[in-house]
Amino acid sequence: MANSRFWLYFSSPKTFYPFAGKLVPWCAGVAVVLTVIGLYLGLLVTPPDYRMGNSYRIIYIHVPAVWMSMLIYMVMAGWAAVGLIWNVKLAEMMAGALAPTGAMFTFIGLWTGALWGQPTWGTYWVWDARLTTYLLLLFLYMGFIALRSAIDDPRRASKASALLAIVGAINVPIIYFSVKWWNTLHQPFTVAPGQESKIDPTMLWTMLIMVFAFWAYAIAVALLRIRSEILEREKNASWVAELLDSSQDTSSEDNIAQEKSAQGDRA
């Protein structure tokens, strides 16, 4: 019971808003630190690949970005389902806040994959099963974002896009298993849970560090976006009015302080 009350406590936008505000700097900090460590290890410490030389190093961006883009879609569809079934406003906002980040990671995945494909396969793009289904993921994200922004009523927008996200979720397992089901150009799994990794442990660790960096980034950005959406949707609620009043007061105090210091400089 206490557990469920804990979750209900945070499902209210009023309590979630400050909670998210406290989490954002931590996640952003973790993302920056882990990205620096991961890029240092990836670009300078790990050995070059015996076949691909140094060009393989883009996988430290490519693989985490692709993982994140698929995972974010599933999480987004999950939140969309929660929002649609139990009518939780915060879950709907969560789904909407994740979509742009997921679309960005999908784009990065395609872009880095193309850059890696040119030296390795000799071409930027092939119509192979994994690449094509992955391109569809980008279209699904675009459809979700477009539908959400085309409908003016926010409740209807989030419900309609939630249904679309759930229907589109069928694509994600197809992308994930496409390299297993169809024998195509894209290489099959190198790293997968439940089997021994086929790559050097330092490479694996570097990749995992980058994955966690991207996780932290995605959470930070989604929370930032959800905070502004809460403010926008709850603009008529009294707590938002109080919050905005108090922040205006502090900002005006800041302005006065700045003006004073500027005057002091001039003097």
Binding site: L136, F139, M142, G143, A146, L147, L163, V167
Partner: protein, 240 residues
């Protein structure tokens, strides 16, 4: 209130109709409406013909090239034609309030939706499939390959109607609905396109096509079960 439409009189009927009767009434109503406005059906068909005709004009008249492209070209044209006709699927019912009556009717909305979709398939999918041999011949497909093409179109076009209805229901009354509909629906059409045109290509290459046809059949069964449910949820979201 004006004269009750056929649907409203059905609703006011004291005896509750069976599910199949509701399905059949919906089907007959949509077919009757379409027969009163026949040009809508022909517009879709002419779009299909024109879209296929553009390819020889754009690519050039080499028969060998056209023969290899034919399954894909005909399938893509059929897919676009079926998608264009989707935007009118619920639009007139939405505008005149019939859709609201359907939502509050004492029958499962998904059954009524299934009736509408069956009518939509009879009016678009079946004519497209029947017309495709002509276009296949123009593009130089062999008679056997044309038979396979018709079978895949008959199996695939109902899936297009079923999946597309979700998008059509979601974009009801939304500005820029038509373009938005294509953005939502086309990615979901891709598996049908791949296996539909793939079957014809595989047949021409002398490969067994049982797998392709089984997968198309599987898509059909899965979408018959789930798409009307998803569409009725979407309609409730759009109408409320």
């Amino acid at each position: 209130m004006a004269e009750p439409t056929k649907h409203e009189s059905m609703k006011l009927c004291p005896k509750k109709l069976g599910l199949f009767t509701a399905f059949r009434l919906m089907l007959v109503r949509d077919l009757t409406l379409a027969m009163r406005r026949r040009t809508d059906v022909f517009t879709t068909l002419f779009f299909f013909i024109i879209a296929v005709t553009l390819f020889p004009l754009g690519v050039g008249p080499e028969m060998e090239l056209l023969r290899t492209m034919a399954p894909g070209v005909i399938w893509v044209a059929a897919l676009l034609a079926s998608m264009l006709s989707l935007s009118t699927l619920f639009a007139s019912d939405y505008e005149d309030g019939t859709l609201e009556q359907m939502v509050i009717a004492p029958y499962p909305l998904s059954v009524l939706v299934l009736g509408k979709l069956f009518a939509h398939w009879i009016l678009t999918g079946v004519p497209l499939a029947l017309l495709s041999p002509l276009l296949g011949m123009q593009l130089g497909l062999s008679t056997d390959a044309i038979q396979v093409l018709v079978i895949t179109l008959l199996l695939g076009t109902p899936v297009l109607s079923l999946i597309g209805s979700i998008g059509a229901a979601l974009t009801l009354g939304v500005r820029g609905g038509g373009v938005l509909l294509s953005l939502l629906v086309l990615p979901l059409f891709v598996p049908v396109l791949i296996f539909g045109s793939g079957a014809v290509e595989a047949f021409s290459a002398g490969i067994n096509i049982d797998g392709h046809l089984s997968l198309l059949g599987a898509f059909l069964i899965v979408s018959i079960v789930f798409a009307p449910l998803a569409t009725s949820v979407a309609l409730r979201i759009s109408v409320e």
